[in-house]
C-alpha cells in the first residue's frame, strides 16, 4: 500500500495526526449535509428560537417539513423533471460520445490526440459566456420555458467531457483484442460493436453516472431558459421557489437539498476511481 512505504508515517503519533487531519476535513466537507438532516426534522419554532441549542432537539422531531415539501410544493415534480431530462441527455450523450471516444482513441491516428484535446477544451467554455446567445437560440427553436430546451443544450457540455473520458477508457483496451476479432472475420465497426463495447461496460456506466450528475448540477441554463415553476429542475426549483417573499422555509429547503444530493453522491462514489482514471488517463499516459 502506498501509505506504508515510508517508515516515517507509520508511527502512532503520525497516525494520530493523520487521523486528526482527515477528521477535520470530513467535518468541513460533510457538516452542511449533516446540518440539512438535523434541520429537516426540527419544528419551525425550535429552529427559530436563537436561545435553543441548535444541536439538540428541543422539541420532538417532526415530519411536517417533509410533508409540506411533497404535498404543498412541486418538489416531486422537480425531481421527476430532473430525472427525465437526465435520462434523455444520457441517451443522446452515449449515442454521440461513445463512437467519438472510440474514434479518437483508435481511428484518428496522430490527429486523434489533438482533436481529443480540442474537444475537451470546448468543455471549458463556460455557461456564463454561452447562456446569453443560447437563450436566443432557444427562443428561435420555440423551446422557451420547455424542458426540451435543456435536453437540447445539456449535451453541449456532456458530449465534450464524456468523449474525453471514453477516449481514455478505450485507449487502455489492448488493440490485440480487436485485431483478433477482425482476423476472425469481423469488420472494424463490427469489432467495435461486438467486442469492444461489451468489455467497456464499466467505462460506459461511469460515463452515464457522470452525465447524470452534470445534469442534476446544472443551474445557469435552467435558470435562464425556464420560467414556470412546474418545469424546473431540482437545482433551480429549490432556491427559486421554496422562498416565498422573504420567508425561507428552512426545514423543507434543507430536506429538499439533502434528498436531491445524497443518493447520487453514493452512486458517484462507487465510480469515482474509474472517473479519475479516465479523466487523467486521457491527459497523462
Amino acid at each position: 500500500m502506498p501509505g506504508e512505504r515510508r517508515g516515517a508515517i507509520t508511527s502512532p503519533l503520525s497516525r494520530g495526526v493523520n487521523f486528526g487531519v482527515i477528521a477535520a476535513f470530513v467535518a468541513f466537507t460533510a457538516f452542511p449535509f449533516f446540518w440539512m438532516v438535523i434541520t429537516t426534522f426540527k419544528h419551525t419554532l425550535d429552529l427559530m428560537n436563537p436561545a435553543n441549542n441548535p444541536f439538540l432537539f428541543n422539541q420532538l422531531p417532526t415530519l411536517a417539513h417533509l410533508r409540506m415539501l411533497f404535498q404543498e410544493t412541486a418538489y416531486a415534480k422537480w425531481l421527476w423533471n430532473t430525472a427525465w431530462v437526465g435520462g434523455i441527455v444520457v441517451i443522446i450523450t452515449l449515442l454521440l460520445a461513445v463512437p467519438a471516444g472510440y474514434s479518437l482513441a483508435r481511428l484518428s491516428g496522430t490527429s486523434g490526440e489533438q482533436l481529443g484535446i480540442g474537444i475537451f477544451l470546448t468543455y471549458l467554455v463556460p455557461p456564463t459566456i454561452l447562456f446569453i446567445p443560447l437563450s436566443r437560440v432557444v427562443t428561435f427553436l420555440g423551446l422557451t420555458d420547455s424542458l426540451w430546451s435543456l435536453v437540447v443544450v445539456y449535451p453541449s457540455f456532456t458530449i465534450p467531457f464524456c468523449s474525453w473520458l471514453l477516449m481514455g477508457f478505450f485507449k487502455v483496451i489492448p488493440p490485440d483484442i480487436e485485431e483478433a476479432a477482425m482476423i476472425d472475420g469481423l469488420s472494424r465497426f463490427g469489432a467495435f460493436l461486438r467486442v469492444v463495447l461489451p468489455i467497456s461496460v464499466a467505462g460506459i456506466l461511469t460515463t452515464v453516472i457522470f452525465t447524470f450528475t452534470l445534469v442534476t448540477q446544472e443551474f445557469v441554463y435552467a435558470l435562464t431558459f425556464i420560467s414556470s415553476s412546474a418545469k424546473f429542475t431540482v437545482s433551480v426549483g429549490v432556491p427559486t421557489f421554496l422562498v416565498r417573499g422573504d420567508v425561507y422555509f428552512w426545514g423543507s429547503m434543507m430536506a429538499a437539498c439533502f434528498i436531491a444530493s445524497f443518493p447520487i453522491a453514493i452512486l458517484y462514489n462507487l465510480f469515482v476511481d474509474r472517473f479519475i482514471a479516465g479523466f487523467t488517463g486521457g491527459a497523462v499516459k
Binding site: G3, E4, A8, N18, F19, V26, A30, P32, W35, P54, A97, P99, A100, Y102, S108, E113, I119, F120, L121, T122, L124, V125, P126, T128, I129, L130, F131, P133, R136, V137, P155, S156, I177, A180, G185, L186, S187, R188, F189, V195, I199, T213, Q217, F219, V220, V238, P239, M253, M254, A260, S261, I264, A265, Y268, N269, I276, T280, A283, V284, K285
Partner: protein
C-alpha cells in the same frame, strides 16, 4: 470476461458498400466522430460567435430580427459602469484566493488519504459530497448556516465565548465577511475534485521509484520535493487549471448566497453578466461583460495545450 474471437461467427467476405465502409479506418473514424463534432459546433462554436456578435450589437430580450451594429458601445458602457471595475477586481480575488486555498488544502488531504484504513469508503463519500451534490443546493445549506439570526456558526461561537453575547458577525451582510464567506463555500465545493485528482496522481507513481529513493537514503523532505512533487506536477496542473476555470466563471455560489451584495462587494463578472443580460434584458451588455472572461479562458486553454504537448514529448 475476455472474449476470444473464436466465439464469433465468421463473416463472409463482405464487398458491399457498407462492408467496405465498416472496414475503412479513416472514413469510419470520421463518421463516428462527426455527430459529436457537429453538436459541439452547433451549440458551443456557433453561440460563441453569436456572443461576439451580440457584444457589438444593441440586441435586447425584445429584439426581433437583426439587431444593429453599435461598435464598442457595449464595452464602453460596461467599463463606464462603476460596478464593472469592482466586479473585475472581485472576480480576481474570488478566483485566485479560493484556488490558492483549494490547492494547499487538497494537497494536505490527498497526502493524508494515501494511507489505507478501515472505513475509507465512507470517508471518501463524505469528502466527495460537496462536489457531487448540486452546488446550488449545497450553497443553500450554507445560506442557512450563515443566517443572520439563526446561524449555527454564530451560536457555537457565542457558546464558546468567541463572539460576544450581543455582537456577532453577519456573514453575508458585511463586505469583507461576505467575500470571505463566498470564497469559503467555493473552496468547500472545489476541494473534493482537486483532492481526488491529486490522489490519483499520487497513487499512480510506481512503487519502485519510492523504494529506490528510500534505498538511496533520501530523507522525507527530499523524497517529497525531489521525487513526489515533480511526478505529481502534471496531474496537479490539470486540477489547478480546471479549478481556475471554475473559479473564474462560476456564478452559482454567489447568486445563491449574496446576489452580488452587500453593495456589490461580491459582484463578479459572471453574476454581473447575468443580472445585466437576463434580469435586465440587455443581452448585448451582458454578452460584453461575459466576454471579459475570455482572456482567462484562452490563457488556460493555451496552458493545457502546452502541457499536453509536453506530456507527449516525455
Amino acid at each position: 470476461m475476455k472474449q476470444t474471437a473464436g466465439d464469433l461467427p465468421a463473416r463472409p467476405a463482405d464487398t458491399g458498400f457498407f462492408g467496405r465502409l465498416a472496414d475503412d479506418e479513416k472514413v469510419l473514424g470520421r463518421l463516428m466522430l462527426a455527430p459529436a463534432i457537429t453538436y459541439i459546433v452547433a451549440l458551443i462554436g456557433f453561440p460563441l460567435l453569436l456572443a461576439l456578435f451580440y457584444s457589438v450589437s444593441n440586441v435586447t430580450v425584445g429584439t426581433h430580427g437583426w439587431p444593429s451594429f453599435v461598435g464598442l458601445a457595449n464595452f464602453r458602457h460596461a467599463i463606464g459602469n462603476p460596478t464593472f471595475p469592482r466586479a473585475l477586481w472581485n472576480t480576481l480575488v474570488f478566483a485566485l484566493v479560493s484556488q490558492f486555498f483549494v490547492m494547499i488544502l487538497a494537497t494536505i488531504l490527498a497526502i493524508s488519504l494515501q494511507r489505507e484504513f478501515r472505513g475509507k469508503w465512507v470517508v471518501r463519500l463524505m469528502i466527495l459530497l460537496p462536489w457531487v451534490a448540486p452546488i446550488s443546493l449545497g450553497s443553500i445549506g450554507w445560506l442557512w448556516m450563515f443566517d443572520s439570526v439563526y446561524s449555527v456558526i454564530n451560536w457555537t461561537g457565542r457558546a464558546l465565548g468567541i463572539f460576544g453575547k450581543d455582537t456577532w458577525p453577519i456573514w453575508l451582510g458585511q463586505p469583507t465577511l461576505a467575500m470571505g464567506s463566498v470564497i469559503t463555500v467555493h473552496v468547500w465545493r472545489l476541494l473534493p475534485l482537486a483532492t481526488v485528482i491529486l490522489l490519483g496522481g499520487l497513487s499512480g507513481i510506481p512503487k519502485d521509484i519510492h523504494d529506490a529513493a528510500q534505498m538511496d537514503g533520501a530523507g522525507v523532505l527530499r523524497h517529497h520535493f525531489q521525487i513526489t512533487v515533480p511526478l505529481v506536477r502534471p496531474i496537479a496542473l490539470v486540477a489547478l487549471l480546471f479549478g481556475t476555470v471554475y473559479a473564474f466563471t462560476d456564478m452559482i455560489v454567489i447568486y445563491v448566497l449574496t446576489r452580488g451584495g452587500p453593495y456589490e462587494t461580491t459582484q463578479v463578472l459572471s453574476t454581473l453578466a447575468f443580472f445585466t443580460g437576463i434580469d435586465g434584458g440587455d443581452l448585448g451588455g451582458g454578452a460584453a461583460i461575459a466576454l471579459f472572461l475570455f482572456p482567462v479562458l484562452a490563457a488556460c486553454a493555451v496552458l493545457i495545450l502546452r502541457f499536453a504537448r509536453q506530456a507527449e514529448v516525455t
